[in-house]
C-alpha cells in the first residue's frame, strides 16, 4: 500500500529549550520540546556530559510530573489538627510574614531553636550558607540518612570516593566490581558505562544480595549476605597479600602506607604518626636506613619493619599494621565463607582474577605527565581494576569501615585515579584528610563563624559541651556520631520531641518526606509530629515545609510554602556543591524556567532569599537596606561571591565572561549558560587527567580554579590517624574525652585501620528470632516518593512485593503471591510475596518508597500504593535495642551516624485472608485548591490532530 497513509514527517515542536532534568539527582541535560505552548517531548541532550543524549524512564516522564494533580497550588496555613491536611489557602505575603515572625523570634533568642533540614534538593550551597547566616547549627541535608558512610569514608581516605565524587574509568577498565548498587545518583552515567564494558568485553562482577537490574547483567553475581561485605573485602585483601599481588610502588608513592606509626602502647601518642619538628610525618628511608620526611620527594620508604626513632621510641610503617590485621586467619576464605554465603573457592578465584588484571593486563596510555615533584613520566600506567559502591555497603552500622576497607583494597591494587581504575571528578580530590570543621553555636542574632557542616579531625573539633553532651539537636559531631559529616536528619524529629538533647521551636523542612519514606519508624514519627504537651501545645511548636506536591509530610506542617517544579525555576548545580564534572572535565550547570507556573507557587530558593531579607540576615541585605538579590535566586547564582572571584557558577566569569573558575560576576553569565545548553564544561588537558592526587598539571589547575589552596599532593590515607585520636581520647588521653558511657564504643569503632563487626541489629536481635535480612532497592523507574503521582510511572509499579528466595520459601512453606506479616523487633507490616531465585537465601527485599499513605499525593484512597504497598520504614526502629545501661543509641553507624536502613532483621508469618491489605493510617483529605483527579488521560491527542496531513 502507498506510504502516504501515515504522515512520516510531522512537525515535532515549535520551540526547543535546553535545561537540566530533575526527575532525579543525576542532572542529565534535556531538550524540552513544546508545541502550541504544550509540552510535546523531553529528550536527552546529546551534547551533555552527563547523559550524552540518553534519558532514563523517570526523565522520560517529566510531562506527567507537570500534569500531576498533586501539585500544590498556593501557600497553605493549617487550620485543623496536625496530620489531617486541614488547611486554608493564604497569600504569599501572609505566609512569608508568618514564617519571618517565627524565625525572627528564634534568631533573637537562640538561633539553634531553628532546625533547618533539607532532603533531596541540590541547593546545599545556598541552604547551608543561609543556615550559617541565620546562625543555627541545626542544619543538614539528607546525607545522614543517605550515604554519609560512603561520603565520609571516601573523604577521609581519598578526599573523594564513590557517590558523586568520582567514577570508574569505564573506557579503560577491564575488571569492574560493583558493591551494593541498585541505581545510584549517577543513574545514566553508570548505565552508559556498563554498556561500554559490555561492548569491550570487560568483566563485570556485582556483589549484591539481589540479582536484578545491574546485577542481572553482571558476568558474575556474588550474592553476599547483607552486612558481610567487609569480611569479603578482608578475605580478598588477605589473598592478595599472601600472593604478593600488591602495588608496593603505588603504596609508597601515593599513600600513607609507609608512614611510621608510633608503637608505644599506653602512650598518649600511641598509634599517631611519628612526625618531625615541622609536623611532617616520618617514614623509614630504606635506602639510607634512617627516618625521613615522608612527604619529601625521592625518599625510599620501607613498608615493613620495626624501627626505633632517634627519640628512642618505637614505630612501624602503617602498612605493616594493615598487613598484620588482614593476614589474620580470621579472614581466610574458608573461615569467612559461611558468614558471607560465598564459597571459599569463589573468593580465591575473584582475588586471583583481580590480581591477574591489575598486574598482568596493565593499561598503558602513551601520555607523558609530570608528578607533583616535577618529575616527568613518559606514560600513564594503570591497573584496570575498578570499583563502585553505594548504599548496599554504606547503609549498615558497619558501613564506614566497610567503605574504608574497599578504599584500602583499591590502594593495595594501585587502582586509584589511574587508567582503568577509579577516577576523581574535579573539584576532587581536595585535601586529605578533609579540611573544614563544623561551626560552633552562634550568639543570638549572629551568624555562625563558618559552615555548619564539616569534618572533625579529632575530639577537639566535636560539637559537645563540657560534659560531653551533644550541642546539635541531631547529636551530629557528638560522641554518638563524631564524624557525622552530613548530620543525622533521621533523628531530628525524635530528638526534638523527646527534648533530647533539647526541644526546638521550629522545624523547617525542604523537600524531605520526613513523616513517611525518609522516616525510620514511620508511624511513630507521625505520632511524634502530632505529640502535644500536657497544656495541649505541640511538642514541636512550628513546622514549616516547602514541598511542590501533596506528600505525606505536607499533612504534618503548619505552614506550607509551595515550590515550583523543575521546569519552572532556576537551579544551580554548582562546583561548591555536587557538580556534574566528569573525570576528564570540570563542569557545572543550571536549570532555568522553560514553563511559567500555572499556580501561585514560588521557587523555594527565591523564598529563602526573601525570608533572609525579611530577617535581615547577613549577605541578604544590600548596603542600602534593600534586598541584596532582588532578582531572586537567578540573581544570586550570578552575583553572589563565596570568596572573591568565586561564586556559584564557574563558567563565563569575569567582565567579558572570558574566565572560568575565578573571576568577577558577569551579568551575562546566565545568558552564556543558556546559549551553551545550560552547562559549562572545561576539559582537563590529557596530561592532567590521571593521578590527579599527585599530578602537577592537575594540582596547579585545581589551585587556579580555587578547588585547592596549595598545589600539594593529596596523600591517600590507608591509615586514618584522626580515628586514632578519638580512640586515644576514649582511653583517657587529651583534653576532650568522651563521657564514660561512650568510651568503650569509641575505643572499639575508632580503629585507624578498617575493621569488620556484625551490624548492630543483627548482633542484638538476629539469629533465629529474626532470621532474615530485609533490604530495599531503588526501582530504576521511581525516584523515592516522587513518582506515584506520575500517571505513567505508577503504572509500572504501583504495588511493591516482598521478594523471598525460593529456597527459603520452600523450607518454610511460603507460596508465591501469599500475604505475610513482616515482623521486626520494632513492629510489623503486611506485604505480598513474590518468589525469586536470584536473592541471597537469608535475605528478603522490596522496592523502596512505593507505598503511599492513603489519600496522599491526590491518589485515589484505594490506590494499590495505599492498599497493597508497604514501607519497610514502618518496621525499622530509629533507636537500637537497649544497651546494658538502658541507653538506646540511634540506629546508626557509630562513626558517622549514617542511618542503618539495611541492618533490618525480620521474620515472616503468613497472613489470614481478612488481613490482606496494608493501609496503616486513615486516609488523608486533600488540601484545598488541588484539582479533581482525571478519570481518563488523553495526553497529546491534540498534537496528532494538529499534525494531520491535510
Amino acid at each position: 500500500m502507498s506510504p502516504s497513509r501515515v504522515d512520516t514527517s510531522p512537525v515535532v515542536s515549535d520551540s526547543v529549550a535546553t535545561t537540566t532534568c530533575y526527575m532525579c539527582a543525576c542532572r542529565c541535560g534535556i531538550r524540552v520540546h513544546q508545541r502550541d505552548g504544550k509540552l510535546r517531548y523531553i529528550e536527552g541532550n546529546p551534547h551533555h556530559p552527563v547523559n550524552h543524549g540518553v534519558l532514563c524512564g523517570k526523565g522520560s516522564a517529566g510531562i506527567m510530573k507537570q500534569m500531576s494533580p498533586a501539585k500544590l497550588r498556593k501557600p497553605l496555613l493549617r487550620v485543623g489538627e496536625r496530620g489531617k491536611a486541614d488547611f486554608r489557602e493564604i497569600e504569599w505575603d501572609e505566609a512569608l510574614a508568618i514564617a519571618a515572625g517565627w524565625l525572627g523570634r528564634i534568631r533573637e533568642r537562640d538561633p539553634k531553636g531553628l532546625a533547618f533540614f533539607t532532603g533531596r534538593d541540590q541547593s546545599q550551597a545556598l541552604t547551608g550558607w543561609w543556615a550559617q547566616a541565620f546562625g543555627t547549627i541545626n542544619y543538614a541535608a539528607h546525607g545522614g540518612f543517605c550515604s554519609v558512610n560512603m561520603a565520609a569514608a571516601g573523604m577521609y581516605s581519598l578526599s573523594g570516593g564513590f557517590w558523586e565524587f568520582g567514577e570508574p574509568d569505564f573506557e579503560h577498565t577491564r575488571y569492574f566490581m560493583m558493591f551494593g548498587v541498585a541505581e545510584d545518583h549517577a543513574s545514566n552515567p553508570i548505565k552508559i558505562g556498563l554498556g561500554m564494558l559490555k561492548q569491550r568485553g570487560a568483566k563485570f562482577v556485582s556483589v549484591n544480595p539481589v540479582r536484578t537490574g545491574y546485577s542481572a547483567i553482571a558476568d558474575e553475581w556474588v550474592g553476599v549476605r547483607p552486612g558481610t561485605d567487609g569480611l569479603f573485602i578482608f578475605a580478598l585483601i588477605r589473598e592478595l597479600l599472601l600472593a604478593d599481588q600488591v602495588d608496593f610502588a603505588y603504596l609508597a608513592r601515593y599513600t600513607n602506607a609507609p608512614w611510621l606509626v608510633i608503637d608505644e602502647p599506653g602512650a598518649a601518642d600511641h598509634g599517631l604518626f611519628a612526625r618531625d619538628d615541622a609536623g611532617h610525618p616520618l617514614c623509614w628511608d630504606g635506602a639510607k636506613d634512617a627516618p625521613a620526611d615522608a612527604l619529601a620527594a625521592g625518599v625510599t620508604p620501607a613498608l615493613v619493619g620495626n624501627y626505633r626513632l632517634p627519640s628512642g621510641r618505637r614505630a612501624v610503617p602503617a602498612f605493616q599494621l594493615l598487613a598484620a590485621r588482614c593476614l589474620d586467619s580470621a579472614y581466610a576464605p574458608e573461615v569467612v565463607a559461611p558468614q558471607i554465603g560465598i564459597a571459599a573457592e569463589t573468593i580465591r578465584r575473584l582475588a586471583a582474577e583481580m590480581a591477574e588484571v591489575a598486574f598482568r593486563q596493565e593499561v598503558v596510555l602513551e601520555v607523558p605527565w609530570t608528578d607533583w615533584a616535577g618529575r616527568r613520566h613518559e606514560r600513564m600506567i594503570g591497573r584496570p581494576v575498578s570499583f563502585h559502591a553505594m548504599r548496599g555497603i554504606s547503609a549498615h552500622s558497619n558501613g564506614f569501615h566497610t567503605c574504608r576497607a574497599l578504599h584500602v583494597l583499591q590502594m593495595l591494587l594501585g587502582a586509584i585515579d589511574c587508567p582503568g581504575g577509579f577516577r576523581y571528578k574535579p573539584p576532587y580530590p581536595k585535601t586529605c584528610p578533609p579540611a573544614g570543621k563544623p561551626a560552633h553555636p552562634a550568639a543570638p542574632g549572629k551568624a555562625l563563624a563558618g559552615p555548619p557542616l564539616g569534618y572533625p579531625l579529632g575530639p577537639e573539633d566535636l560539637l559537645v559541651d563540657a560534659a560531653g553532651r551533644p550541642l546539635r539537636l541531631d547529636k551530629a559531631y557528638s560522641w554518638e556520631a563524631p564524624l557525622a559529616a552530613h548530620g543525622l536528619m533521621h533523628m531530628v524529629i525524635a530528638n526534638a520531641v523527646r527534648g533530647d538533647p533539647y526541644p526546638i521551636d521550629t522545624l523547617f523542612l525542604f523537600m524531605a518526606n520526613m513523616s513517611w519514606n525518609s522516616a525510620m519508624n514511620a508511624e511513630g514519627t507521625a505520632a511524634m509530629l502530632t505529640a502535644r504537651h500536657a497544656d495541649g501545645s505541640y511538642k514541636i511548636p512550628h513546622i514549616i515545609y516547602a514541598d511542590a506536591f501533596f506528600s505525606e509530610m505536607v499533612a504534618y506542617a503548619d505552614l506550607i510554602l509551595p515550590d515550583t517544579t523543575y521546569l519552572e525555576r532556576h537551579d544551580c548545580i554548582s562546583l561548591l556543591d555536587r557538580p556534574i564534572s566528569t573525570a576528564d572535565a570540570a563542569a557545572d550547570s543550571i536549570r532555568r524556567p522553560v514553563l511559567a507556573p500555572d499556580r501561585d507557587v514560588r521557587p523555594f530558593q527565591d523564598v529563602l532569599l526573601d525570608l533572609g531579607y525579611r530577617l535581615r540576615l547577613p549577605g541578604m541585605v544590600a548596603g542600602d537596606g534593600r534586598p541584596a538579590y532582588p532578582g531572586g535566586f537567578a540573581d544570586y547564582m550570578v552575583n553572589h561571591q563565596r570568596r572573591p572571584g568565586i561564586g556559584m557558577l564557574a563558567g563565563w566569569r569575569g567582565p567579558n565572561g572570558g574566565s572560568s573558575g575565578r573571576g568577577a560576576p558577569n551579568p551575562e553569565q546566565l545568558q552564556r549558560y543558556i546559549e551553551h545548553d545550560c552547562f559549562w564544561l572545561e576539559e582537563l588537558p590529557p596530561a592532567a587527567r590521571y593521578f590527579k592526587h599527585a599530578n602537577k598539571d592537575y594540582l596547579d589547575y585545581a589551585v587556579a580554579m580555587g578547588f585547592l589552596d596549595h598545589a600539594e599532593p593529596v596523600v591517600l590515607q590507608l591509615y586514618l590517624e584522626p580515628l586514632q585520636k578519638f580512640r586515644l581520647a576514649a582511653e583517657g588521653h587529651g583534653k576532650v574525652v568522651p563521657p564514660p558511657e561512650h568510651r568503650e564504643r569509641i575505643r572499639r569503632y575508632f580503629d585507624p585501620l578498617p575493621i569488620w563487626y556484625r551490624p548492630f541489629e543483627e548482633a542484638a536481635v538476629g539469629g533465629d528470632d529474626f532470621p532474615l535480612h530485609a533490604v530495599t532497592q531503588r526501582p530504576m523507574i521511581m525516584y523515592h516518593a516522587w513518582d506515584s503521582q506520575n500517571a505513567w510511572l505508577r503504572q509500572i509499579i504501583s504495588q511493591n512485593r516482598l521478594y523471598v528466595s525460593r529456597q527459603f520459601a520452600e523450607r518454610h512453606g511460603i507460596a508465591d503471591d501469599q500475604w505475610v506479616w513482616i515482623e521486626s523487633h520494632h513492629g510489623r507490616i503486611k506485604g505480598q510475596v513474590r518468589l525469586m531465585a536470584g536473592v541471597n537465601p537469608d535475605t528478603v527485599w522490596t522496592w523502596n518508597a512505593i507505598a503511599k499513605r492513603s489519600g496522599a499525593w491526590n491518589l485515589d484512597p484505594k490506590a494499590p500504593e495505599a492498599t497493597r504497598g508497604f514501607l519497610l520504614n514502618h518496621v525499622i526502629a530509629e533507636l537500637l535495642p537497649e544497651q546494658a545501661g538502658g541507653y538506646r543509641y540511634a540506629n546508626c553507624d557509630p562513626v558517622t551516624g549514617q542511618a542503618a536502613w539495611y541492618d533490618l532483621r525480620v521474620r515472616l508469618r503468613p497472613c489470614a485472608a481478612e488481613d490482606i491489605g496494608t493501609a496503616v493510617a486513615a486516609p488523608l483529605s486533600v488540601p484545598p485548591g488541588l484539582p479533581k483527579r482525571p478519570q481518563t488521560l488523553r495526553y497529546g491527542a491534540w498534537f496528532r490532530d494538529a499534525g494531520q496531513v491535510p
Partner: protein, 247 residues
C-alpha cells in the same frame, strides 16, 4: 490491504541485547512519551490516579529468571511489536486497518479503518497489540515511523525513541533485510534469535542472548596459596623488607 505485500527488501526492525538490558524501562516510558504526541496519539491512560491504572503502551519490560544456581540469570526482557514477516495480525484483520508496509516491512494500524474487533490482538503471539478502549481502536508500536523518516529531525535523531534513549545501548535499529547492515552483523556475531520461531511469524526484530563467558581472561591468574599457617605474617613481612620504591 491485509494481504501481505511481496516480501520487502528493506526490513526495518530492532535488535535487543538481553545481555545488556538492565530493565530500566527507559525505552518503554520514552516510547510512551514520544508516541503520546505522534501518529498514534493519544496513548490513553484509564484511571491514571486511581485504584487500577491501565494505559496504552507500545513497549513493555518483562522480567524472567532462567536456570538455577550459579548458572541462573535474571533477564529483563523488553517486548514491543516485532514487525513480523508473516504477521497474522495483518492477515486476520477484516478491514484492512492492519497492514504491512511494502517499502520497509513496518506493520501499522490505520486507525481510521479500524473497527476495534480486537482479532489482531488474538492473532499476535507476542502481546504487541494495544487496544485503546477509549478510542475504540487498536494501536501498536509504529517503529517510530514518525521519527525515522522525519525531516524535521536531525539525521542522527531519525531512530526510534526507545533506541535513542536506552542508557546502556541495548537497543539497535536498522535494516534486517540487508545482511551487510550493522544490525544484521550484530545478529550474526552474537547468535541473535527469533521469539517463538515455531509459530512461523518470522519476526523481524531479533534478540541477542545473554553471554555465557565471564568476559575476562584469568587463565594465568595467580594460583591460590595454601591457607595461612602460623608464622605466615612473619614470613610475609620478612619477604617485603626489600620492597623499596622511591616516592
Amino acid at each position: 490491504m491485509t494481504s501481505l505485500p511481496a516480501p520487502p527488501e528493506r526490513q526495518l526492525g530492532l535488535v535487543i541485547d538481553l545481555d545488556t538490558c538492565v530493565g530500566c524501562h527507559a525505552c518503554a516510558v520514552n516510547c510512551k512519551q514520544w508516541n503520546s504526541g505522534g501518529v498514534a496519539a493519544p496513548l490513553t491512560d484509564l484511571d491514571p490516579y486511581g485504584a487500577a491504572p491501565d494505559g496504552v503502551w507500545f513497549n513493555r519490560i518483562h522480567s524472567f529468571e532462567a536456570g538455577e544456581g550459579a548458572a541462573g540469570r535474571t533477564v529483563h526482557f523488553p517486548r514491543s511489536c516485532l514487525h513480523c514477516a508473516e504477521p497474522a495480525c495483518v492477515t486476520v484483520c477484516p478491514t484492512g486497518a492492519s497492514y504491512k508496509r511494502a517499502e520497509d516491512g513496518i506493520v501499522l494500524v490505520d486507525e481510521s479503518k479500524c473497527i476495534g474487533c480486537k482479532l489482531c490482538s488474538w492473532a499476535c503471539p507476542y502481546g504487541a497489540r494495544e487496544f485503546d478502549v477509549d478510542a475504540g481502536v487498536m494501536k501498536k508500536c509504529t517503529l517510530c515511523i514518525d521519527r525515522i523518516y522525519n525531516e524535521n529531525l536531525a539525521p542522527a535523531e531519525r531512530v526510534p525513541a526507545c533506541v535513542a534513549t536506552c542508557p546502556v545501548g541495548a537497543r539497535h535499529f536498522g535494516d534486517l533485510g540487508d545482511p551487510a547492515s550493522k544490525v544484521s552483523r550484530l545478529v550474526a556475531d552474537r547468535g541473535g534469535f527469533d521469539l517463538m520461531p515455531e509459530l512461523g511469524y518470522r519476526p523481524t526484530n531479533k534478540y541477542l542472548p545473554p553471554r555465557r563467558t565471564t568476559g575476562c581472561s584469568v587463565a594465568q591468574a595467580v594460583p591460590p596459596e595454601a591457607p595461612a599457617a602460623a608464622g605466615v605474617l612473619e614470613g610475609k613481612l620478612f619477604g617485603w623488607l626489600d620492597r623499596l620504591f622511591s616516592r
